[in-house]
Symmetry: C2
Subunit: 157 residues, 2 copies
DNA sequence: CTAGGAGCTAGACCCGGCTCTAGGTCAACT
DNA sequence: AGTTGACCTAGAGCCGGGTCTAGCTCCTAG
């Protein structure tokens, strides 16, 4: 007699998932659900826990910047049922590659960011230790290579 | 007699930086340069290597999703000259935190992505080893906790 | 002299991904 | 009876970050 799959209102789903009710309707419109969202007698949307489970997957994929069209395609594959796992795999692997690439580029950027921060920290520390004017390095440097953030091009300012 | 700071055209800067000429004008409009971009007698923009060096910094900050307003603010601080290193430091540290946060969330997402991929890979391998139908797990799972991507909520599909 | 190519400005447009509004239905309280 | 409050639809609006267009000025080469 326990409710096996409680029927959730859009508001409840919004609350649980952190998506807005607008976003939920929008996602539905975009074809991101696995099954057409059911309606109650009064025409209101009724969600199941399965919907919520799927949404949490969507949220994670979106959090890693999977574009909506690709998420839609993925939803389509899942909707089709078993048999297309190669395609799902390819899609996931592709996405994985994008995400690792993104992480890599962000990590590279962190080199510069931390380097800059360290430079400013030194100046600040120095300035507060002895209370005389800071003498910032204004020598500009040329940058040619760029992959593993070159020291010199990073120094100025 | 060597050109100490060669004068570059917008096209040359675009080529070197990978930014479009449009983007270069746009950035200028947005106040992202350290000094007003000089103009030749004919009214065309003339860039120095310093500009390019600064642009490469901008590009890295943008690559890590520093919003334009913040980049503008940073440019402003640098423009002001030495003396505001605490502010520059704070800005960089803040940005650093955002970037590490982002990397963390992406890395978390990777857990799910790889898990899914692994599931599909198993199915595909299994399917190709013995040529009988795949029996995908369609058992839906409820998801409550979510930080360290829970196993169960991830299984379905 | 004329055609191309690079630049110029101001401003329109685009894209992704929501977000919000207008105008309405319904059920539940007071 | 009236007021919330949650929901509905269709469609407009917004934001960030560019991108592109129109219509113009130059310079250079053929």
């Amino acid at each position: 007699m326990v409710e096996i799959t409680p029927r959730l209102s859009i508001g409840q789903v919004a609350e649980r998932t952190g998506l807005s009710v607008h976003a939920l309707r929008f996602y539905e419109n975009e074809g991101l659900f696995l099954t057409p969202v059911r309606r109650g007698a009064d025409g209101r949307r009724v969600y199941s826990e399965d919907d919520v489970a799927w949404l949490t997957v969507c949220i994670i994929l979106r959090a890693s910047d999977m574009p909506l069209p690709e998420l839609r395609r993925y939803a389509g594959l899942v909707r089709e049922g078993t048999g297309n796992e190669e395609e799902r795999l390819a899609l996931m692997r592709e996405h994985e590659a994008r995400v690792t690439g993104r992480i890599g580029r962000l990590t590279e950027s962190l080199d510069l960011i931390r380097f800059k921060a360290a430079v400013y920290e030194d100046i600040v520390d120095q300035g507060s230790a002895a209370a005389h004017d800071c003498h910032g390095p204004s020598t500009a440097a040329e940058g040619e290579e760029r992959s593993p953030v070159r020291r010199r091009e990073v120094l100025a300012e």
